[in-house]
């Protein structure tokens, strides 16, 4: 470990991690896809700040690099790509359906509490309990979002925020080697998800005028 270990700098690290978590709730609360993408961009930027701050706290320049990569990839490139996809397919104003907000939020809070309780024993051996709890909570909320929102675009954003939780966990662990490589691997997964949706969606639109599909639909109706 080593490095600057003031209580205040740790507190700020938790505050940034907590902000990522709160933005996860923001994602759960958002209804429009455009807003969803913006909330994800905000989450990624806070995540980048959290990574950079952890780099300073742990005196690990690699984490600052990770922060920059996250900022460029998840904070800028992916949201821009998503906005372009949404704009081209004209569903950026689409309302994302999901069951009532309140039960979902309550489930989210329950998951956060679960994460806190699961991570609590880490304190016994001076492991970073709060960082782990926050990362676990973001991961669980991402999964919750994927479950309650069956629509593909919203599910994609849920998956992306789940990956943000992974990065938060990686940067929060002291002395984790390969942090940059792992974060990049996670971002590759995120990029692949976006690219996949882009390719598949474009194709789906072309296939709507596919005669074979119409024929099959007609067959099913008879």
């Amino acid at each position: 470990m080593g490095g600057h270990h003031g209580a205040f700098s740790l507190d700020v690290a938790h505050l940034l991690g907590g902000a990522v978590l709160v933005l996860s709730f923001g994602l759960l609360y958002q209804r429009r896809l455009g807003g969803l993408i913006n909330a994800y961009a905000a989450q990624s930027c806070v995540l980048a700040a959290a990574a950079a701050w952890q780099g300073w706290v742990q005196s690990a320049p690699a984490l600052v690099v990770t922060g920059l990569i996250v900022l460029g990839g998840a904070g800028v490139a992916i949201p821009v790509a998503l906005h372009r996809i949404a704009g081209r397919l004209q569903f950026d104003r689409a309302v994302v359906t999901q069951p009532g907000i309140f039960p979902v939020m309550a489930a989210g809070v329950a998951l956060v509490l679960l994460a806190v309780l699961l991570a609590a024993p880490a304190a016994a051996q001076a492991l970073p309990r709060e960082d782990l709890a926050l990362a676990l909570a973001v991961v669980l909320l991402g999964q919750l979002m994927m479950i309650v929102r069956p629509a593909a675009p919203a599910q994609l954003v849920g998956f992306l925020s789940l990956l943000s939780g992974l990065i938060l966990g990686i940067v929060g662990v002291p002395g984790m080697r390969l942090a940059v490589e792992l974060a990049v691997a996670v971002l590759v997964l995120a990029g692949a998800a976006v690219a996949g949706v882009y390719l598949l969606r474009i194709r789906a639109r072309f296939e709507e005028v596919d005669a074979g599909r119409l024929e099959r639909l007609g067959g099913a109706a008879q």
Binding site: L136, V173, R177, L200
Partner: protein, 492 residues
């Protein structure tokens, strides 16, 4: 150790046998990207896979546990199995892909991409098996998954695209959980091994596992089991396997998804050892057994309803993967031995079956079960091979899977008798469904051919694989048995 000696140490590892096993497929993948001639590409593909297999055969004599790579007996065994499968599938795919190209389902650029992806996927899986770093194993498995998603989407049909996206979503969630589990595992190891690379290396973890933080180890176990369980085709996230197998090009599903399953099961086996060594952690056996048994039962009872022949065999794969996981969960040298052997034999049998199914589907121009029948009457060699494979997978003598299933079942009666009943039930149902389908596919009323066949040479890999299954089941050579028993004894 200063930077320079670190670097030279790494380089030396890369040019040792394990390093070359990993590097050869990657180099071949890079090279195949530039080979425009389809026949030459297919030959390079086969040659590279063979070279990787031959190099892997040297692994048992060159055990290392270095900074980058780990070639302990378990890793060596799995690497040999994976590269053997890669070799046979690469030779099989020569004839198979030729037919696909003739049928217009593949064009030249896509065939080139297919060859490169095949080698890249093989390299990623070998890296995952031979890496000495938990995180690198995860990263390699992620890369292998992405490669296999790409390969599944290669035919560019609507079904392929849908299967690829479904596979991506489910495997993505599984990989995410595995990544988080990896982080937590590292965290659990920090109190024992200190921060840094040792806390992430497979070779250092087991010895120090007793001093891990038990709560963190439990948390890591849950995430890793669910995450790698997804990749092993275990419930609850097994849904990607039938889709990708039904839609993707067959050799890909034979080598890629089949071997990814094995890699994930090996990680679960290693994880089990870590939890066993820690007095404060939960007993890992029961959760693993529960997942394995649930997969077996779910797959066995849905087998009969499958109308698509490729999906049918994917269901059987889930069932058998569940059996192997169950054996690993059961624990003890005997059950682990049986589980490892089952894994290997089923992988070989499955590849043989899939090669036959691929040929049959090409002959019939469709993969609906109802459209394929009477293979034994019209294509005697193909029908016989498929029948032999299905008999083997159903767990009937004289094939090796009978031996391993018997070992697992008797081990269950010995150690957890109350689980023997559902296990036997699942095996019987799966075997029954297999026999029923065997009668329909091989005997039944013959169906007319609608496409070109691959010819006898394409069946040679299947014969080799089935012969191995037969030999290993009936009369396993003494040294091999001793080696496998040593692996099982060293593993928990």
């Amino acid at each position: 150790m200063n930077e320079l000696s670190l670097l030279t140490g790494m380089l030396r590892e890369l040019v040792s046998a394990p390093g070359l096993v990993v590097l050869v497929p990657f180099a071949a993948a890079a090279g195949l990207g530039f080979v425009t001639d389809a026949r030459l590409g297919a030959w390079i593909n086969g040659a590279a896979a063979t070279l990787a297999f031959l190099l892997a055969c040297a692994l048992p004599w060159e055990p290392i546990a270095g900074l980058l790579l780990l070639a302990d007996p378990l890793a060596a065994f799995m690497a040999i199995l994976t590269s053997f499968l890669g070799m046979t599938t690469a030779w099989f795919s020569q004839g198979y892909m030729q037919v696909e190209v003739q049928a217009g389902r593949f064009d030249a650029p896509r065939l080139r991409l297919y060859h490169a992806l095949f080698q890249a996927g093989l390299g990623c899986m070998l890296l995952a098996l031979l890496s000495n770093n938990v995180a690198v194993t995860w990263g390699a498995l992620e890369a292998a998954t992405l490669v296999s998603v790409l390969a599944v989407a290669l035919p560019r049909t609507e079904d392929a695209a849908r299967a690829a996206s479904r596979q991506f979503v489910l495997c993505g969630v599984g990989l995410a959980m595995a990544c988080f589990g990896t982080t937590v595992l590292y965290l659990a190891a920090v109190p024992a091994l200190g921060a840094g690379v040792p806390a992430m290396s497979w070779s250092r973890l087991p010895a120090a596992a007793a001093a891990f933080n038990p709560a963190m180890l439990n948390l890591a176990f849950v995430f890793l089991l669910l995450g790698y369980g997804t990749k092993a085709g275990l419930v609850p996230l097994h849904g990607w396997l039938p889709d990708s197998q039904a839609a993707g090009p067959l050799p890909v599903s034979a080598v890629l998804s089949g071997s990814i399953l094995n890699v994930a099961l090996v990680v679960i086996l290693r994880l089990r050892g870590l939890l066993d060594a820690n007095p404060g952690a939960i007993a890992p056996g029961l959760p693993i057994m529960a997942l394995g048994l649930a997969s077996l039962l779910l797959a066995a009872f849905s087998l009969g309803a499958q109308r698509d022949v490729k999906r049918f065999f994917a269901g059987s794969t889930i069932a058998q993967s569940g059996v192997a996981a169950f054996a690993f969960g059961l624990g003890g040298a005997g059950a682990t031995f049986a589980g490892l052997l089952h894994l290997a034999l089923h992988t070989l049998t499955r590849a043989a079956i899939l090669q036959c199914v691929g040929a049959a589907v090409q002959l019939n121009g469709g993969q609906r079960c109802a459209g394929i029948g009477g293979l034994l009457l019209r294509h005697r060699a193909l029908g016989l091979t498929l029948a032999a494979g299905m008999v083997a997978v159903a767990g009937l003598p004289p094939f090796g899977l009978f031996t391993t299933l018997f070992l697992i079942l008797s081990g269950t009666v010995d150690r957890a008798p109350w689980l023997a009943v559902p296990l036997a039930l699942g095996l019987a149902v799966a075997g029954w469904a297999m026999a029923e389908r065997l009668l329909a596919l091989c005997l039944g009323p013959p169906t007319p051919d609608r496409g070109p066949g691959t010819g006898l040479p394409a069946l040679v890999p299947a014969w080799v694989q089935l012969a191995l299954v037969l030999v290993l089941g009936l009369a396993m050579p003494g040294p091999v048995a001793a080696w496998l028993a040593a692996i099982a004894g060293a593993a928990p």
